[in-house]
Point group: C2
Chain length 274, copies 2
C-alpha cells in the first residue's frame, strides 16, 4: 500500500538509541486518515500550477474546501493560477499543519491531480462547501470573473514529520474519514493538561514502560487513542495509548479517559500490594 | 516596472465608494521592499518542483534562508523535491504572511527561477545563513544524504492582499532592502495600542481627513510610516501617515512617533483657537 523511505541517521542519535516505551502496535490513524483529517480542517494551502510557455512550476496561496476527497477553489480569471490551469490542468495542492516549534515536525500533504473549471450549474456542491468554509467569499462569489475549479486527486504524498512519510493510494484516500475528534482535540488537550495531570501520570505508569513517570502532558488525541510526553528519569519520552474502541465525539472521549484512569489506578494499587 | 491587475468589482461595493482619508502619495514600501521583508523574515514556504516523467507541478513544505536575494535549502537526497530538481531545476518558492483573519488579506510572494545543488566547498555562505535561521538543522546538516540547493531568482510576483499585486523586476528585487523595523513592529504596535490611544486619535484628527476619529488602533509600521484603523462616524477607516524621514531602528521609531504627536497636538490646539 505504501512506500516508506527513511533518512540515513547516524547510529549515535537519540532517535535510534531510544527504545519505545509503549506498544508499537498501538492503534494509530493511518497516513490516509491523518492526511484526510489535516486537509479537511485546514482550508488554506499552496496551489502548484504550470506557468508560461516553458511550464515553470508556480506556487500561489489559495483557500479551498473539500468536496468528497477533492479540493475546490474559487478563483478569479485574472489570477495567475487560473491562467496557468487554463493552459495546463496539471496541479497539486500542498497543505501543511502548524503548531510545533520545529516547522518540519508538522504534518503536510501534497494532493496531485488535474484541476479544471466546474461549469456553472455543476458547481452547486462546491459553492456550498466553499461558502461554509469561507463565509467571506460571499462578497465576491457572484463576481463575473470568479468561478470554481476542482482538483481531482489522482495520488498523494503524506509526510507526518521526520521519517514518517508515504505515498497514499487513491483508494485509501477516498475511503479515509477525517478524524471526528479533531475539532475538539485542542480543548480536550488543554483540559487534561490543566486539570488532570495526576491521571496522565497514572496512565503512563500503568499502561507503558515509563513506570518512573513524574509528570506527563497530553500532546495529541484522535479517534483511536492519545499521546503524551512523559517526564521520566531519562528525560521526556513519547507515550501513545489506545482507547478500548474508537471514539466519535467529545463525550465519548471523556468517558474513555475516565474509564482508563480508573483502570490505571486499580492496576497500580494492585501492583503496590503485590 | 510593474503590471498591476485589478478585479472586476461591483460599483456598489464599499471599496470603490469609500474615498481615501489620507494623502494617496504617502511614502509606502514598494512591492519589491514588501516582498524582500516578508521573505527575509519568514523562513518557511512551499517549494514547487516538477515531478515524474510528465512534469507534474509538485508542492512540498520547506524551510529556507536567504543569501543575497536567493533562497537556499538544506535537502535530503531522499526527498521528492530533491529528486524532482535533479530531473529539472525549474522551481518556485511561495512564501506567505500570516496574522489577518481573512487569509487572502495576507501578503505572499512567488519567487521563480532555477534551483540547483551547491557543490560542497561552495556552500559556506548558504550553510552559515541556514544554520543561523534554523539552528535545529545542526543535527542533520552533516548527514551524507543532505546538501544545499539554491534558487536563483529570475522573476517574482508579489500579492499584498486584495487588489494589490504586481510582477517585481529582478533589479528591483535585488536592490530592495528588507525593512529594518520589521523585527520590532509587533512590540511597537502593541505598545502604541496599549499605552498611546490618545496619541493615535491626535494623529488621525490632525494629519488625515478623519477629523471625527473617536478611537484608533495601529495596524502596521515600517521604515517609511505607519498605519491605523480609525473609528469614524462612518465606521472604521484605514489611515496611513509617513515619518518625516525613513527610520532605521526602534529608537528612531519612538523619536519619530513622539515628534509627530507634539506636532499633531500643536496643530489641533491652533485649529481650536482659530
Amino acid at each position: 500500500m505504501t512506500r516508506v523511505t527513511r533518512h540515513q541517521v547516524s547510529k549515535n542519535t537519540k532517535s535510534s538509541s531510544q527504545e519505545l516505551l509503549y506498544d508499537p502496535d498501538v492503534a494509530t490513524p493511518s497516513h490516509a486518515e491523518q492526511a484526510k483529517t489535516l486537509v479537511a480542517q485546514r482550508g488554506i494551502g499552496t496551489l502548484c500550477t504550470l506557468h508560461g510557455e516553458h511550464g515553470h512550476p508556480y506556487g500561489s496561496f489559495v483557500t479551498y474546501a473539500l468536496v468528497g476527497g477533492n479540493p475546490v477553489f474559487l478563483v478569479s480569471k485574472l489570477a495567475e493560477h487560473t491562467r496557468n490551469l487554463e493552459g495546463d490542468p496539471k496541479a497539486s495542492l500542498l497543505v501543511n499543519a502548524e503548531g510545533k516549534d520545529d516547522p518540519l515536525a508538522n504534518a503536510r500533504v501534497t494532493l496531485i491531480g488535474a484541476c479544471t473549471r466546474l461549469p456553472r450549474g455543476e458547481d452547486t456542491e462546491a459553492r456550498e462547501a466553499f461558502l461554509a468554509a469561507h463565509p467571506n467569499a460571499s462578497y465576491y462569489v457572484d463576481f463575473k470573473d470568479f468561478s470554481f475549479f476542482q482538483l481531482d486527486v489522482e495520488s498523494l504524498r503524506y509526510i507526518g514529520g521526520y521519517g514518517r512519510m508515504s505515498w497514499v493510494t487513491l483508494a485509501d484516500w477516498q475511503a479515509a474519514q477525517a478524524d471526528p475528534i479533531a475539532a475538539f482535540a485542542p480543548q480536550i488537550i488543554e483540559h487534561m493538561n490543566d486539570d488532570h495531570a495526576e491521571a496522565m501520570i497514572a496512565y503512563c505508569q500503568a499502561f507503558s514502560r515509563a513506570s518512573d513517570t513524574k509528570a506527563a502532558t497530553m500532546t495529541a488525541i484522535d479517534r483511536y487513542g492519545f499521546e503524551m510526553s512523559a517526564v521520566t528519569e531519562a528525560g521526556p519520552r513519547p507515550i501513545r495509548l489506545a482507547f478500548a474502541a474508537p471514539i466519535e465525539n467529545a463525550g465519548q472521549a471523556r468517558t474513555a479517559l475516565v474509564a482508563l484512569v480508573k483502570q490505571a489506578r486499580a492496576q497500580l494499587a494492585q501492583q503496590a500490594e503485590a
